[in-house]
Amino acid sequence: MTGILWVHLVKDLRIEWRSREAVNSMLFFALLVVVLFSLSFDPQGAFSRDIAGGVLCVATMFASVSALNQAWAREIRHQVLDAQRMAPTPGADMFLAKVLANFLFVTVVQVVLAPVFVVMYNLRILGDAWKLALVLPLGTWALVANGTFFAALSIRSRNRELLLPLILFPIFMPALLAMVLATGSILTGDSDPTLWIKLLLGYDIIFTTVSLLLFEIVLHAE
């Protein structure tokens, strides 16, 4: 079980390492969103703390959609996906490996983006900064797990690039809300983000489980 997962993960990472398409495009896209928002709102002081959480989350969300669309499109070329479907291995492994790989990519983007973000928004964190290390991975996991699942779901439709955000964003909304509010309360330091971290954790557990259970059906949908 874990062996197959590892093989898939190493393959995905190697492909990304050779091209660096996903990380580069996400990074530049997220940077553009951050700059655009900074330009249009000119954030300073307390106001910048209020909106920064939302901007960071929405920037990550938009950026990762562009990468998630590519995640399965790679497998479509040369009928790789059909070969995968015929392989006698559980589809859940392939799914989990893809989620882990994309989770890594998005995390890299966030780590690189964070200093830029602090500079552009003149941020000084008033709450417990270490809690961000809990909120951001949990939120990213929610985004990537659902995103990978829905990318696989929309892969065989016409205009799939358009369809993914349309079906992902409504489902992702509660996690986005929790992520934005948790980040916001850490940045401003005037309320406790614990409840939102719990909600994110619950969302992650529920949707990761459901995705793992239903992925086989989506993979073999005829």
Binding site: L163, P170, I171, M173, P174, L177, S191, L199, L214, I217
Partner: protein
């Protein structure tokens, strides 16, 4: 015989709708603080209840489809038609809720919209099922039924999470506006108008659901027939 039964049911639905309208506008007493604007409730709340009912029917259809698609393809097709019909009729009722709500809110609260738990949940519910219908339109081929069923289940799981998230959010920041529940000290005449409208809208919804189900079944059969003919030619 079947035609007669359907006509009788349709006539009964029309009677209920007229009766409900009459009760809501002419019979129910004027509410003491909100006056006439309160009568929007007689359409708003029954529509909300119907929307939830039809989304639940859609969920049943989705689960039924996934459960029976391998063993009983014929049943699976029926379930799929039910899932689609439930989602579409649910979206129609949900749209009514989302349109009548702000009209009432503007007069009663002074604002069109607020991110209150129920409002947000209803809006996200609407968005989820619209995306479900979009998927059914965009994705082509036979796998669309499976994919739509999976999305339908995801959407249904999301709804309670959305509701909890918004309730916590608003408990932390109490909002100045409240939802005056229909059952808080309601007079018997108001209750009667309310119940007539619930009956009327659910009857109407079931009628439309049946019609949508029938149309979808017909198009499924036409598709199956086409596929069969293509096979016969080969």
């Amino acid at each position: 015989m079947k035609k007669l039964a359907i006509s009788l049911y349709a006539a009964f639905t029309v009677y209920l709708l007229i009766r409900g309208f009459h009760q809501a506008i002419f019979v129910a007493p004027d509410e003491s603080t909100m006056h006439e604007i309160q009568r929007i409730f007689y359409y708003h709340v029954p529509s909300a209840m119907s929307a939830f009912l039809f989304f639940a029917i859609s969920l049943v259809g989705s689960i039924g489809f996934l459960a029976s698609r391998r063993n009983q393809p014929e049943f699976a097709q029926r379930f799929d038609a039910l899932a689609l019909a439930g989602a579409e009729v649910g979206v129609v009722f949900c749209s009514v809720v989302l349109v009548t709500g702000p009209i009432w809110g503007r007069r009663a609260w002074g604002i069109w919209w607020t991110w209150d738990a129920r409002l947000t949940t209803t809006l996200i519910l609407w968005l989820i099922y619209v995306s479900y219908l979009l998927l059914r339109r965009f994705a082509a081929g036979p796998q669309v039924q499976t994919l739509a069923a999976v999305l339908g289940i995801f959407g249904a799981i999301d709804v309670p999470i959305v509701y909890m998230a918004n309730r916590w959010w608003r408990t932390q920041h109490p909002s100045p506006v409240f939802f005056g529940g229909a059952d808080s000290g309601i007079s018997p005449k108001m209750l009667a108008a309310f119940l007539w409208n619930i009956a009327a809208w659910i009857a109407w919804g079931v009628l439309i659901l049946g019609f949508r189900y029938y149309v979808e079944r017909q198009s499924q059969k036409a598709l199956a027939h086409e596929a069969q003919q293509a096979l016969d030619h080969v």
